[in-house]
């Protein structure tokens, strides 16, 4: 809310500078966004009178003038064409400053001294809007009357100084979307009395009438319109508003239009009540009905846009058509025009939620709607319309007709709240007396009657003791509150198991040289396609109703596209050796959760993405094995996966605990790499952290260090190339039973000498019995069984 400090002074004495005022108000809750001090950038510019104009001896485009600036006469050289002797003009004297940091100094023009400069409106940062009679490319010619003020500062003479504060007003304080409300806050904050300049309005009694100048009003939607007041002005003289009003409007960011429209805006700024004025003759049947719009009803609003309405939207209508969207904007059909003779001033209060919805629906958020939607006081509506008619009289803009039409189906209730001293002190942590509390409330015009706080009409936000505590806290001073520590039972600081695991996993990965990334959960359909995400996963994607763009339309059912995108960005930047991980979520609409309004499945996924030298499938596999080991998942199977289209069909594996896949890893499918324009082999892994949590056993137990010696044996066999070493290991492990302590594959060898499509695989095995020394015979026996089984199941040949 842009606020003129000059206007605020009508409500409170202000004896501090603008910065201090801004600070004080910020600390009581009216947060200052910006401070603007207009006119401060003009210095040493005064009123001068041109005494004579002579030709320049050496330049035919210049003239030499003599100017009276009160206490001295200056010689000034200028090239301006629009001046004549006797003109009153603004003179920037030697040492003057102009907007934009321009400095004026004594200068020589073709050998003739010039002791200053005559200013144009542009040089004073004024516009034709402010001074329509001036010209842009010439000197500003001032009013003849100013001859009496030669030498006076132009900033004072033209009243160019304007201090403006822009406040951030919170949604609970629509009363502060007005100078009056902010004036009250200012007075209390500065500990000054609140000067109520509208006392006359507060005490004014206006008679109720059923009909004025033939005008009648009905409300058919009392749930959406709490009060509608109309007053009429006859013999209207449309014209410009006086300077003081234009100035205040301008300071608050509102452009002057004509006296009637300006009055409605002025009252809105002053009292926070949006008003509407319209030509009585544009109301068919002179009958106003506040009703719900008809389905598909159309209205062209003042901004000349056609709006299509919905049955939930409230309109102000005559007998034939809608003339305004209630609380949002008036219709073009009832606009005030040059020839308007009789004007209706409307001051109404609508249901805030309804105005908010309507404004959103028709895509029109106005100064009026943004006030109405916060819920306005029906009592204030009457003050506003009376103030408007008072201004009509003050401006001589027309003849105010006696009486008002006041349809008021829902009286505003004033809240009564118990002044619970103990509760308030308990909430704030203070030890204030009742007297101190009542004092603060009194300053805010909040009455206390029999230990009950009565909220004034303009403070509809006060409903509970907590609200009263805030008012008392604000003006007792938040800065005066002590800093204490919670006096309560000790609690234990804890992470959940999942949080612990995530932390541990991240640590392992960082130690393995991976860098953590953060990605958005959004993807597009195209992203899912580029990554070859399976239809069975794609179908779980959750669609946003209002995405930022198509690129961010879906909540990802897989984290792969986000990682590939990141790899692509790095590849595109020619970054070498990129090893990344991301611990974030996938979002899946499993079991139609979304359709049934339930929270969809959101699993924590560790995603790894890598490319670069010395990175291959087995490096990735090693990293994942370390991750699993770190969180005590020791029993799992690695199985080849050749159907997952995001991965190379020959270089992809699932890691399973039982039948549950906890991770997938592999080389990225070359097609996918192509889609992302990554020219190197890249590797990906997805590890389901949510599942890891389930399988991670955290209770490690000490196992006795072996007392008896181990026996080592090597074995090398020749098998078909197709046979996975995992299968061989499984057989060895099964046959060696409890005696096998360690198994290490130390060689895989392929050669024609071994045979076409054959490979030799060599293991080193370590056997140990915990209770005794194993004899050679025992180990031989085991080895024979292993070899027999390998020969039988895999057609393996022992390599001699």
């Amino acid at each position: 809310m842009k606020t003129s400090v000059e206007w605020l002074k009508e409500y409170s004495d202000i004896d501090v500078d603008i910065v201090q005022l801004a600070d004080t108000l910020t600390m009581t809750g009216s947060k200052v966004e910006t401070i603007e001090q207009m006119g401060n950038d003009i210095k040493n510019v005064v009123v001068g009178k041109i005494l004579e104009i002579k030709a320049h001896p050496d330049a035919n485009k210049l003239v030499v003038t003599k100017v009276d600036v009160g206490n001295e006469k200056l010689q000034i050289v200028t090239g301006a064409k629009n001046i004549k002797e006797g003109d009153i003009v603004p003179i920037a004297k030697n040492g003057a400053e102009l907007p934009g940091g321009v400095k004026i100094k004594t200068n020589k023009f073709r050998g003739i001294d010039s002791f200053g400069m005559m200013c144009s409106i542009g040089e004073l940062n004024l516009t034709l809007n402010d001074y329509p009679n001036q010209i842009e490319d010439g000197i500003m010619i001032l009013d003849k009357n100013l001859e009496k003020q030669l030498g006076k500062d132009i900033v004072e003479v033209l009243e160019l100084k304007e201090d403006i504060i822009d406040f951030e007003i919170t949604s609970n304080r629509p009363d502060c979307l007005s100078i009056e409300g902010l004036g009250r806050e200012t007075a209390v904050s500065l500990n000054k009395p609140f000067k109520n300049p509208r006392k006359d309005i507060d005490e004014l009694k206006v008679q109720d009438k059923k009909e004025i100048e033939g005008l009648k009003v009905d409300i058919t939607a009392p749930d959406l319109c709490y009060r509608y007041i109309a007053r009429v002005v006859k013999n209207v003289k449309i014209g410009p508003s006086p300077k003081w009003m234009v100035r205040r409007l301008k300071a608050c960011g509102v452009r002057a239009i004509n006296n009637i429209v300006d009055i409605t805006n002025y009252v809105m700024l002053e009292m926070g009540q949006p008003m509407h004025a319209f030509d009585i003759n544009s109301i068919e049947g002179k009958h106003i009905t506040v009703r719900r719009a008809k389905k598909g009803e159309k209205i062209v609003t003042l901004d000349e846009q056609e709006r299509i309405l919905h049955e939930d939207n409230l309109v102000i209508a005559d007998d034939k058509k809608a003339v305004a969207i209630a609380g949002v904007m008036g219709g073009l059909n009832s606009e005030i025009e040059e020839g308007t003779k009789t004007v209706v001033f409307e001051s109404a209060v609508f249901n805030g939620g309804s105005v908010r919805k309507t404004a959103k629906k028709v895509g029109l958020r106005t100064e009026a709607s943004s006030r109405f939607e916060k819920g306005l006081s029906a009592e204030n509506a009457l003050r506003a319309v009376n103030r408007a008619t008072q201004l009509v009289e003050l401006l001589g803009a027309g003849e105010v007709v006696d009486g008002k039409i006041d349809v008021y189906p829902t009286k505003q209730k004033l809240n009564k709240i118990e002044l619970d001293i103990e509760k308030i002190n308990g909430l704030l942590g203070t030890k204030l007396s009742k007297q101190e509390m009542v004092e603060i409330l009194k300053k805010l015009d909040i009455k206390v009657e029999n230990d009950m706080v009565v909220s004034p009409y303009f403070r509809m936000d006060l409903e509970l003791v907590a609200d009263i505590a805030e008012e008392i806290g604000r003006f007792y001073g938040y800065d005066k509150l002590d800093s204490t520590l919670i006096k309560a039972d000790t609690t234990l600081g804890l992470r959940t198991k999942e949080q612990d695991i995530k932390k541990k996993v991240a640590q392992i990965l960082v130690n393995s040289g991976l860098s953590e990334i953060y990605t958005y959960g959004f993807v597009s359909e195209k992203d899912l396609e580029k990554s070859n995400i399976d239809n069975d996963i794609k179908k779980y994607a959750i669609t946003l109703k209002n995405p930022l763009s198509d690129e961010y339309k879906l909540m990802r059912p897989s984290t792969i596209p986000s990682m590939l995108q990141t790899l692509a960005i790095n590849a595109n930047k020619k970054n070498q050796n990129v090893k990344l991980f991301d611990i974030s979520r996938s979002y899946k609409n499993v079991d139609n959760a979304v359709e049934s309004g339930e929270v969809p499945l959101q699993e924590e996924i560790l995603t790894i993405g890598m490319y670069g030298d010395e990175i291959d499938f087995y490096v990735l596999k090693g990293i994942i094995e370390n991750v699993l080991e770190a969180i005590n998942i020791n029993y799992y199977d690695v199985e080849k996966e050749n159907k997952n289209a995001s991965y190379h069909p020959g270089r992809c594996a699932n890691i399973k605990v039982g039948i549950d896949t906890i991770a997938t890893l592999g080389e990225v499918h070359p097609e996918v790499l192509d889609n992302y324009m990554i020219s190197k082999r890249a590797y990906l892994a997805e590890v389901n952290i949510t599942k890891l949590v389930k399988y991670s056993k955290s209770n490690k137990k000490y196992v006795e260090v072996p007392k008896f010696p181990a026996v080592e044996r090597d074995i090398a066999i020749i098998v078909d190339e197709q046979i996975e070493v995992g299968k061989i290991e499984k057989i060895i492990k099964k046959k060696a039973k409890k005696w096998l302590e360690d198994i290490q594959l130390f060689d895989i060898y392929k050669d024609k000498k071994i045979g076409e499509n054959k490979k030799s695989v060599a293991y080193s095995l370590v056997f140990r019995d915990k209770s005794k020394t194993l004899s050679d015979e025992e180990v031989n026996q085991i080895m024979e069984e292993i070899i027999f089984k390998l020969e039988k199941d895999l057609k393996a040949e022992l390599r001699k």
Binding site: G353, L428, S512, L580
Partner: protein, 339 residues
């Protein structure tokens, strides 16, 4: 004979002392002490002596023999030492050559900041809570005293999945869920991603991270909130940090406040980060609104509480001197490696 022994002794000592390498020393050992050595020869010649002379000369020879053996051993040790010294010299390396190591990766600045915050609150006895990001509107808004058509729903443009499901615009729904499921005393913080439909620029992102805190117990007062946040600010941003409470409005707290901290870049003197004001707006907080407590099944007549929340990126950016928020989500490895 004595003379002969004396000569052997004299010559041999001289030769041993002049000896320069181990091989030569071995030769000398053979020459004097070996089976065919000079001193051994003397011993062999003992048979020719009288019975009286024999023990005398014998012990003399043994004396010299001992002496020489001692000498040779000593010399031998010397050679070993020299040899080792030489070997070590040869093995000398350039310690300034590059190391061989597994290069460490890096933890993202957002995680680093969250971790730091978590540690501080864990130390104060807070539990760390989690919740869904695709969340029911009722938890994101209604339970938090923001019913449909409440103007505060306009404050933040929310992403909707359906009328009933949103991408959480704050981590507060986690608070509501915890209050529903846990009896006071409650002391939690909830860090996590939140979503608002802001276009991406240097200071905005549709996804960012928050940490919110909630304490509910008997007799919790605003002064406790102030004390807690002051302690947090000092631990997180430096012991010199001051905080400032300003009244504000949030639908889910009453009384509410915004908290500024003295600029931790310039110590409040005024700089680019704090735009010359000396203060940086850090967080919003307040006493949990009685409606929120009762919406979540906690009796506001018995319990009170405070809540606070702040953006992680903002702190991370100020702490690490990152001026463009987009860098945090672009994930250029050259950026990531710096942390």
């Amino acid at each position: 004979m004595k003379e002969q022994i004396a000569n052997i002794k004299k010559n041999s000592i001289k030769e041993i002392e002049n000896c320069i390498e181990e091989k030569q020393l071995n030769e000398l050992r053979v020459k004097y002490l070996g089976k065919k050595g000079e001193l051994t020869a003397v011993l062999r010649g003992l048979g020719n002596l009288t019975a009286e002379e024999r023990p005398l000369i014998g012990s003399l020879v043994n004396e010299v023999r001992d002496e020489l053996e001692e000498l040779i051993m000593k010399k031998g040790r010397e050679f070993k030492k020299q040899e080792l010294k030489k070997k070590l010299e040869n093995e000398s390396i350039d310690v300034t050559e590059p190391s061989k190591k597994i290069k460490l990766g890096s933890v993202h600045p957002i995680t680093q900041t969250i971790n730091e915050v978590e540690e501080i609150f864990l130390g104060m006895g807070y539990q760390i809570a989690d919740g869904p990001e695709v969340e029911k509107a009722i938890y994101n808004f209604d339970k938090l005293n923001t019913p449909p058509d409440h103007p505060a729903r306009d404050l933040q443009d929310t992403f909707y999945v359906t009328e009933d499901l949103v991408l959480r615009s704050q981590t507060s729904p986690v608070q509501a869920r915890v209050m529903e499921n846990q009896k006071p005393p409650i002391k939690i913080i909830c860090p996590g991603a939140v979503y608002r439909s802001d276009s991406i620029d240097a200071t905005h992102s549709p996804v960012f991270h928050q940490v919110e805190g909630l304490v509910v117990d008997k007799n919790i007062a605003m002064t406790d909130l102030k004390g807690t946040l002051e302690m947090f600010a000092k631990k997180c941003l430096g012991e010199k940090t001051k905080i400032r409470f300003r009244p504000h409005h949030f639908p889910f707290t009453e009384p509410s406040a915004e908290v500024d901290v003295s600029c931790f870049v310039c110590d409040g003197k005024g700089c680019r980060v704090c735009k010359g004001e000396g203060w940086i707006e850090l967080l919003g907080c307040g006493m949990v609104h009685p409606n929120v407590l009762s919406n979540c099944g906690i009796d506001p007549e018995v319990y009170s509480g405070f809540a606070f929340g702040f953006g992680v990126e903002r702190i991370a950016m100020a702490k690490f001197g990152i001026e463009d928020m987009r860098l945090l989500f672009e994930n250029d490895i050259r950026f990531l490696k710096q942390f």
